[in-house]
């Protein structure tokens, strides 16, 4: 607190810039009540010195010491090229090892096909899809059953079927092999038949049962990669691959038809929708 006894110390500390804002406010309030002290405060303020910045030391260059030159370490030319080649090799290897999507397709562990002798003439429609990684899958050509309807109503994959159909309608037959391979991969990944045993018991049921353990496969893979990684890498012989391809092609070509018929050896199954 500023009093008549200590105000001078406060004024000098004010001149020294050592007062806190609160102390400074208290001092100024005290002086405001005693106008005779204002001249004293002004005199202390006047007794402060400010540096004259035009006054400079003109001989700084004599004080400057030479700085050592920076050392530049240079590689020989062959070392530069070898480093560049090493980096390029690393990028190349990394690309083939990790970036090629075909590697992901190799994750398919097993595919087993039953009923190998299937001839699919035409008018085949894709079955209902289901997204289950490890699920007995059967391609069944029959009348649209209630079970199939139930499954399709429950499964959100119905929209995938529509996409698949649209996709297949726009594809060319000559190029179907690649497209169908991709769609077949999608189909296998999602196929589900509700009551396989019931269907097998019918006289014209043709079933190609595929048991596959399939991980999540990205749909945006390159077509060529899908063809190689899936069909060509299946652990089955070429005849079975050809038969499977026939099924795929038939389904893909007749997705927009209202009925399909499948002939297996001497038996024939006609399904109308």
């Amino acid at each position: 607190m500023v009093t008549q006894e200590n105000y001078e110390e406060y004024i000098m500390m004010y001149a020294d810039g050592e007062l806190t804002p609160a102390e400074e406010a208290a001092l100024l309030a005290f002086i405001a009540t005693r106008p005779e002290l204002e001249n004293e405060l002004a005199a202390y303020n006047m007794a402060r010195f400010t540096p004259d910045t035009t006054m400079v030391f003109a001989d700084k260059k004599a004080l400057i010491k030479p700085e050592p030159a920076k050392q530049i370490i240079s590689f020989p030319a062959w070392r530069k090229y070898s480093i560049a080649a090493g980096i390029a090799a690393l990028i190349f290897i990394s690309f083939f090892k990790y970036l090629l999507p075909g590697k992901k397709q190799d994750a398919i562990t097993s595919v087993k096909i039953e009923q190998p002798h299937i001839a699919v003439p035409s008018n085949v429609r894709t079955p209902v899809q289901k997204t289950n990684a490890e699920q007995p899958i059967a391609i069944v050509v029959k009348k649209k059953s209630a079970a199939v309807k139930r499954t399709s109503a429950k499964m959100p994959a119905t929209s995938n079927i529509a996409k698949l159909e649209n996709k297949q309608n726009s594809s060319q037959k000559d190029n179907d092999r690649i497209d169908v391979a991709r769609d077949w991969k999608e189909t296998i990944n999602t196929l589900q038949i509700a009551d396989a045993k019931k269907l097998e018991s019918k006289p014209f049921a043709a079933v190609a049962r595929v048991v596959a353990t399939i991980p999540e496969i990205p749909l945006a893979d390159e077509e060529v990669t899908v063809k190689k990684s899936f069909l060509d890498n299946l652990p089955i012989d070429d005849l079975k691959k050809k038969e499977m391809n026939n099924i795929v092609t038939a389904i893909a070509d007749n997705l927009d038809k209202s009925s399909i018929s499948v002939k297996i050896e001497k038996r024939k199954l006609i399904v109308s929708f």
Binding site: E9, M12, M13, A15, D16, G17, E18, N39, E40, A43, Y44, M46, A47, R48, F49, T50, P51, D52, T53, T54, M55, V56, F57, D59, K60, A62, L63, I64, K65, P66, E67, P68
Partner: protein
């Protein structure tokens, strides 16, 4: 402290040291010698002085050199300071303040200059001068009172 840090100190603090030494010694030539001596000492002890403490170290050396110089000559005549090396904003006030500063002893003058020119706190001034913060405060207040009384004396009122 590396060479580049030392050179940065020269660029940054040589002028302030020169102004301080000039006021302490009263002679521009003596101030020049003081500044050169300060940086010579700093160069010799650059391995021991970190960059952040270089300024305080320089002013400590300048304070000691100025005090020694003052005591050697025993008297300072501020009329010897060449007027052409600087142009004060208000020449009349500047002369009066110089005369007021001449009323102080060498130590009080250095304390006032360290406080007003460089804005050091009591503790920092104590570290530079080797005094305690309380001593610095007492000496500074004593010096302020002398300066104020000089300025308010009838013959020195502007």
């Amino acid at each position: 402290m590396e060479v580049n840090e030392y050179n940065a100190c020269v660029q940054e603090w040589a002028d302030a040291l020169f102004r301080f030494a000039c006021k302490c010694t009263g002679q521009a030539s003596d101030a020049h010698d003081v500044v050169q001596n300060c940086f010579e000492v700093l160069w010799q002890k650059r391995k021991e002085v970190p960059g952040v403490k270089a300024k305080a170290f320089l002013f400590q050396v300048a304070y000691n050199k100025s005090i020694d110089n003052y005591r050697r000559k025993e008297k300072v005549s501020y009329s010897e300071i060449p007027e052409q090396i600087y142009t004060p904003i208000n020449p009349d006030l500047k002369k009066i303040l110089d005369r007021a500063l001449a009323q102080l002893d060498e130590q009080a003058r250095a304390l006032v200059l360290l406080k007003d020119y460089e804005g050091y706190s009591y503790e920092e001034i104590g570290q530079i001068t080797g005094l305690s913060a309380a001593q610095v405060k007492v000496y500074l207040h004593r010096a302020r009172k002398i300066l104020k009384e000089y300025l308010v004396s009838v013959e020195n009122i502007i």
